[in-house]
Amino acid sequence: MALVLTQDETMVVDSARGLFEREAPVTAFRALRDGGEPLAWDRSLYGKLAENGLVAPNVAEQDGGIGMGISAAGLVLEQSGHVLAASPLLSAAISATLIACAASNQQRADLLGPIVSGERVVAPALDEVARHDPALLETKAEKSGDGWTLTGSKTAVIDGFDADSYIVSAMADGAPALFLVEKGASGLVVDRFAAVDSRNYAKLALSGTPATRLGDSDASAAIAAGLDLGRALLAAELLGAADEAFTRTVSYLKERRQFDRVIGSFQALQHRAARMYSRLDIARGVVLKALRALDEGNDDATWLASLSKATMTRLARDVMMEAMQMHGGIGMTDDFDVGLFVKRAQSAGELLGDDHFHTERLAAGKWGL
């Protein structure tokens, strides 16, 4: 598919942008952060997103979704990046993919509808160590009567605090498998992790925790698909956040006066801004290419997901540094929004592998270096 948006996709973007701007400007995120509630996302906003088909739009129509593809999911995430919306959109899209790839028909029918409708938050729990390393899987699954029990621990669980259920990876009969674990299950300890970006992460401890297996075969391919999608979506969100921080910075350059002139007239700052503009322009193509490739099942899709995540992690980091620097002292105050973007860029960059992880993945995996 062409690297330009279709009419339907443009409508998705407009709908998402409109909703986020009306219902969830950055001030709304700030209010949630400062509100003292442990759950830092807005259920009513999430309901509206679902009503508009913006929660996991990649879920196929026969599974109760709108079947707009991973590209549409990416475009929604990109818009959410502009306002720092903390809604559990990322976990919904990843969990839906894990279920669609691994689960039985009955499980798909039971689980996907409630995710798309926003009734149920299902958090993927795939990581076990601080630096993303999906190859490391030590959580064990054991048969227990008709079902299974899980023992182990998970970290970096996106939207994991107060989720309704979890999709947990574990070794079963010597191969990776995926399991559904319900909130409040016995032996499950959910530890809220207070992160710099004020989102709802958790660490899980599982000890003989009852679980339902999704499907009955090796889930390696499903996990890979979930990771590819998650990485491409995080790259899209980072693009939105970086673009927003950049746009705000350029506006500031046109307002702020020093030495009797606006600082945006200084060539030293102009050229740095023009470089960011250029890199964002190239990255926009990379992000869309990865989404398109995943939708098309292109052979290079998994590598493009890594290229996209690596590119955006590094670029967002650089853009945030420049945004803070060019805003001067005020950019470092908590009252000013720039810091909120800086914090989100750091988290989103880290999740599912940062630029170093993905550069190494490409070097060894794609190019055999």
Partner: protein, 396 residues
């Protein structure tokens, strides 16, 4: 350039592809396929054509017979008349078998598109077919010793003598100026007008007593550039492109073609094999011992891939009519910088042996820095982006 809005059905495009594939298989000499590209190993046309080999001649004549030297230019001016999608198919099929361009030409890359937009009917009918058939080799006369990045300060003078201009002055960095037949040139025709408004775009025959070009030897050893001197050169007014005094508009339009093609060909393309080259020269064990070098190879591959995607996106956006006017500036800036880094890295991969005067990558390495300056230096691109794309104010 002529792009037809109508899209052909996919099936028609598929049969076109098959036809092209068969034709290329029969007509592109095997000896020319998958060979390293260099400015000295392609055919440049002209009044006194020099073919690098018999196969080049054959290949050129076959391609020219279908006007596939300029596949998407309008047929009424001697172009191939293909629509954008067909042009893309031809390009893809040529890339598939590693077929080189049959004709390298500044007339194709730069002047043609500008003439199609700004030229009179007479000018199009006169010049476009000659470009398509490689009969005239064109040079570009923009820069002057005192007008580089500040191109609009140029001083080459074109005196209005009624039916002609009398041209005096000096140009520099004239690509192949000493080998070209004609030169498209910026000259100052209105000395009293504001600097951007007094410039005209003239087509000047170099085969006349008042025009002399001498080559400049570059650090790579090549002599692609020349200095061109005008001493009472006579230029008929029929050879004025666009309005008198509005040559800057033509020049700017033409530069967008130069910039995108520089960025795309240098940014993507050949670099996609850097990892293979690294493994070939150092082996995996050698690379493992030098993690910094290995890392730089991987990063270069990633950036190269990103630039290829950017080229693809530019093409798609152009077709959909949503191309950003600043894409050429971005491509030129980042593409040429990447090429400079990548070719220097290729030198490191080969170690001492790469330092040979005729080393495999020496030429490309020394060829890369000039591209960061040519076509509007990269600092000029940054200025354009700051002022036009970001609308940051002038420093007063």
């Amino acid at each position: 350039m002529a792009t037809q809005i109508e899209e052909r059905p996919a099936s028609e495009l598929d049969s076109f592809r098959l036809e092209v594939r068969e034709w290329l298989a029969e007509n592109c000499p095997v000896e020319l396929r998958n060979r390293p590209r260099g400015m000295d190993t392609s055919f440049w046309g002209g009044r006194n054509p020099v073919y690098p080999s018999e196969q080049h001649k054959l290949w050129f004549e076959r391609m020219a017979s279908r006007a596939w030297t300029v596949p998407t230019w309008p047929a009424e001016y001697g172009g191939g008349g293909l629509d954008a999608a067909q042009g893309r198919v031809l390009k893809q099929e040529m890339e598939r078998i590693g077929a080189p361009d049959a004709l390298s030409s500044l007339g194709i890359m730069m002047l043609g598109p500008a003439l199609l937009k700004f030229g009179t009917e007479e000018q199009k009918l006169e010049h476009i077919p000659l470009i398509a058939q490689g009969k005239i080799r064109w040079a570009q006369g923009y820069s002057e010793p005192g007008a580089g990045s500040d191109l609009a300060s140029l001083t080459t003078k074109g005196e209005d003598k009624g039916d002609h201009f009398l041209v005096n002055g000096q140009k520099i960095w004239t690509t192949y100026g000493h080998k070209a037949d004609m030169i498209f040139t910026l000259v100052r025709t209105e000395p009293d007008a504001p600097k951007h408004l007094g410039i005209s775009f003239l087509l000047i025959d170099m085969d006349q007593p008042g025009v002399n070009a001498t080559p400049i030897r570059m650090i790579s050893g090549n002599e692609h550039f020349a200095q061109t001197f005008f001493d009472d050169a006579v230029v008929s007014k029929a050879n004025l492109v666009g309005e008198q005094g509005r040559g800057w508009d033509v020049a700017k339009y033409l530069l967008t073609f130069e910039r995108s093609s520089m960025g795309q060909s240098l940014g993507g393309g050949a670099g996609s094999t850097m990892a293979e080259v690294a493994i070939d020269r150092l082996g995996r064990e050698g690379l493992a011992r030098e993690p910094g070098l290995r890392r730089e190879v991987a990063e270069t591959m990633m950036e190269t891939w990103a630039m290829q995607i950017a080229g693809e996106r530019m093409y798609d956006a152009g077709k959909a009519g949503v191309l950003s006017p600043f894409s050429p500036n971005v491509m030129k800036l980042l593409g040429t910088e990447l090429a400079a880094r990548r070719t220097r890295l290729a030198m490191s991969l080969g170690g001492f042996d790469e330092l040979a005067v005729d080393g495999r990558d020496t030429y490309e390495w020394l060829q890369a820095p000039p591209n960061c300056v040519a076509g509007g230096s990269n600092e000029v691109q940054l200025n354009v982006l700051s002022k036009r794309a970001l609308e940051l104010p002038e420093h007063k």
